[in-house]
């Protein structure tokens, strides 16, 4: 199959961009990505976005952003899979190049939360669940995660601060990412003193909603001009999987099947095992999600994922570094842009451009983007090319 490479990448700072609209956010990231690619001309645009129709009364982002970026005329669509929208858009871009139908594809993730107040945002986020059976009862994503975490702690006898390591690692890594929403390391005491949001989830178990945009320029390996400015990063594996939307329909709520299936397929395509992955960008929307993903991918047996964080195995120098640029917790959760941020951050690691957060000898990065409690999971393996 065709080798698909990341030729350019860009991102905006993640945070509360009160005075920057959707199109400007997206354009900021696109401009940087196209420039980074040495000026390749995109022929298709795949926008990852979750909530613009709800929060900004704006659908049809493909045409809107293509036009605003000066690309009117090209193919342009929005890809939506709740929190996994960014990963899903990346996969569509990958498929377009891999199929040979498109030479240069632009993948742009963008989300704008600050157009609405908190209650409106929570209601919008709840549309990721099963509207008829969950959201209508008042079940929010945070409520779902609290149920999972409570059950997990009960089943596996996790102590009170058992999940602290996820937040501590994320914030420590956020300190080295100039685009992160939170760039300050925290101590255990901050975690233990944090207010409960939905017991047992406290404030530090939850990633903050934030505005942001990230973009990638994808192309076929042979189209990269000789003397290209950056080390090349290839998409060696790409897979997506779906599960029942409602938690109560699942056989085992503490098993993220989509995370297992999509990661397994992506690694199989890349021809690697979990042990060969240099780092893992998980979707730590809630710390319990991170634990369940570590188990699903195969880094821990069931019920033991939290221990990797508690034992420091997910730190930059640990056995399996995770959230290397802060993850969702410290970099922030810019909704449908998240999966694209993960790819930009992983590509930076593989290019050797991760600054103080650089992982030694990074060869393969696994990135995984989740929609809801893993009703969708999109996984990609990024590989450094020599």
């Amino acid at each position: 199959m065709t080798d698909v490479v990341i030729a350019g990448m860009g991102q905006t700072e993640v945070g509360e961009h009160w005075d920057i609209g959707l199109r400007d956010l997206a354009f900021g990231a696109i401009q940087e990505a196209v420039q980074d690619s040495g000026g390749l001309k995109p022929r298709a645009l795949f926008v990852g976005n979750m909530l613009a129709p709800n929060l900004s009364n704006q659908a049809h982002l493909g045409a809107l952003i293509a036009d605003y970026a000066g690309l009117a005329g090209i193919e342009a669509v929005t890809v939506e899979a709740a929190g996994a929208s960014g990963g899903a858009a990346l996969r569509q871009g990958y498929l377009a190049i891999a199929s040979g139908m498109v030479d240069v594809a632009l993948v742009a993730g963008v989300e704008k939360f600050t157009d609405q107040l908190g209650s409106g945002v929570e209601a919008a986020l709840s549309t990721a669940g099963d509207s008829d059976f969950e959201a209508v009862q008042g079940m929010t994503p945070t409520g779902q995660a609290a149920l999972l975490m409570r059950r997990y702690m009960h089943e596996y006898q996790v102590p009170g601060n058992g999940f602290a390591g996820f937040a501590l690692t994320a914030h420590a890594n956020g300190a080295g990412n100039k685009n992160a929403m939170f760039q300050k390391a925290i101590q255990l005491e901050a975690y233990t003193k944090a207010e409960m949001v939905s017991e047992p989830l406290n404030m530090f178990d939850i990633a903050p909603n934030a505005d942001g945009a990230a973009a990638l320029v994808l192309t076929r390996r042979e189209l990269v001009p000789p003397g290209f400015a950056h080390p090349l990063v290839m998409i060696a594996g790409s897979a997506s999987a779906s599960d029942m939307l409602a938690l109560h329909d699942r056989k085992d709520i503490l098993q993220f099947d989509t995370a297992r299936l999509s990661a397994g397929r992506a690694m199989k395509q890349a021809g690697i095992t979990p042990g060969q992955v240099s780092f893992f960008e998980y979707h730590d929307m809630f710390s319990i999600y991170a634990a369940l993903q570590l188990e699903a991918v195969g880094y821990a047996i069931k019920g033991q994922g939290w221990k990797l964080a508690a034992e420091g195995a997910i730190g930059l120098k640990g056995r399996i570094p995770c959230a290397t640029m802060g993850g969702l917790k410290a970099r922030g959760f810019p909704g449908g842009a998240c999966g694209v941020y993960q790819a930009v951050e992983a590509a930076a690691q593989l290019r050797g451009q991760a600054g103080t957060n650089q992982i030694g000898d990074a060869q393969y990065g696994l990135i995984q983007s989740l929609g809801g409690p893993a009703a969708t999971a999109v996984s990609h393996i990024l590989q450094k090319l020599d």
Binding site: E16, W18, D19, T114, L117, G118, E195
Partner: protein
């Protein structure tokens, strides 16, 4: 949102110098501790933005409270009320939507009928906007004396973050020629943009707010810009001011904005009343200044910066004269009102503030 550059000249400076010839404060006696609000709404959990807030009694409103403050200002000014050519009241809790507060106040203090009277509305800076207008009236020579009042009985939706802080109180000022003043207002500067951070629409009982949007793009931006432009145009720095007063919706915001502008906690301490009386909205910067004038000495320079949602800030550069010594003691001091304190519980507060639906 582009940052507009002020057109030359930046400062508002009256044709003839003006100043404060009298001032007065008023704070109702009842206090609702913030922990009471937390007890009822959060089971006592969570941080408290202030210690307690002042609550008006059953027979008090912005009219009666304005009259109290106006009378205190008259005691210090020692002038014939008939000489007041304006009585202006800024508030976001005028008792009537149509029919002025200011005519009742003017009548009560004997300023009618040869006077201007009107109510001002600009969220929490309605009072200081009236003060700027009074500078213009006196500074132009059209009137010898003018009164500007900022007074509120602020509304907070039950259970909302604002219910902890929405307090009651304010201050009244009589402006006149600088040579008669206990404090000269050297200049003012206002910074205003269309920023929807906090509002209450017609016929709504309680205001709404844009949550975190009320911070950086609203409060901090406007106060910082107004203060910075005023000081730059005046050729001053934070070191030139003995005291500073900033609008105070909670205890944290004014301390943070002060620190960002280079002011110490000592400089803002006398005017930082929000921890013990709550956010008095249109009265907040005004009563912060009365408390500061109560302890000020001749030669002290004071920076005052208000903030009103919607949004804007008025900044004032004030210089205390030697007339302060004889006049500060002529009326009840702000701290005396604060010390006059009767604690109430949430149920009594709910009754006093009409939060129980009776029919």
């Amino acid at each position: 949102m582009a940052t507009p550059q002020p057109h030359f000249p930046t400062l508002l400076k009256p044709a003839r110098p003006v100043g404060i010839i009298g001032y007065g404060a008023y704070v109702p006696r009842y206090r609702l501790p913030a922990r009471e609000v937390a007890r009822v709404w959060t089971g006592g959990k969570g941080g408290l933005p202030i210690k307690e807030k002042a609550v008006p009694g059953l027979d008090e409103d912005v009219i009666t409270m304005s009259i109290e403050a106006a009378r205190n200002a008259m005691k210090r000014a020692q002038i014939d009320p008939a000489e007041l050519r304006a009585v202006w009241v800024g508030s976001e809790s005028h008792p009537y939507a149509v029919k002025p507060t200011s005519t009742v106040v003017a009548e009560a203090i004997g300023a009618v009928p040869n006077t201007q009277a009107a109510d001002w509305e600009f969220a929490c800076k309605a009072g200081t906007e009236a003060l700027v207008a009074a500078m213009g009236l006196v500074g132009s020579g059209m009137g010898h004396y003018a009164m500007a009042i900022g007074m509120d009985t602020a509304q907070g939706k039950p259970g909302d973050a604002l219910e902890y802080t929405a307090g009651a109180g304010g201050g009244a000022y009589i402006l006149g020629p600088a040579e008669e003043s206990l404090a000269i207002i050297n200049a003012s500067y206002s910074y205003v943009t269309d920023t929807p951070d906090f509002w209450r629409r017609e016929n709504q009982k309680y205001p709404e707010h844009g949550m975190r949007f009320t911070g950086e793009p609203a409060y901090f931006k406007h106060i910082t810009e107004a203060a910075t432009h005023l000081m730059e145009a005046s050729g001053t720095t934070s070191q030139d001011y003995k005291w500073a007063v900033f609008h105070q919706p909670n205890a944290k915001f004014p301390q943070r904005v002060a620190s960002g502008l280079g002011f110490s906690m000592e400089q803002i301490q006398p005017g930082l009343l929000v921890p013990v009386i709550g956010n008095t909205y249109a009265g907040a910067a005004m009563i912060g200044l009365t408390a500061t004038l109560d302890i000020a000495q001749p030669g002290d320079r004071i920076l005052v910066v208000s903030f009103g949602s919607g949004a804007g800030s008025d900044a004032f550069d004030i210089l205390v004269t030697d007339k302060i010594a004889a006049r500060a003691g002529l009326a009840t001091q702000t701290q005396e009102y604060i010390a006059r304190r009767t604690e109430i519980d949430y149920a009594t507060y709910a009754r006093y503030r009409g939060k129980l639906q009776m029919k």
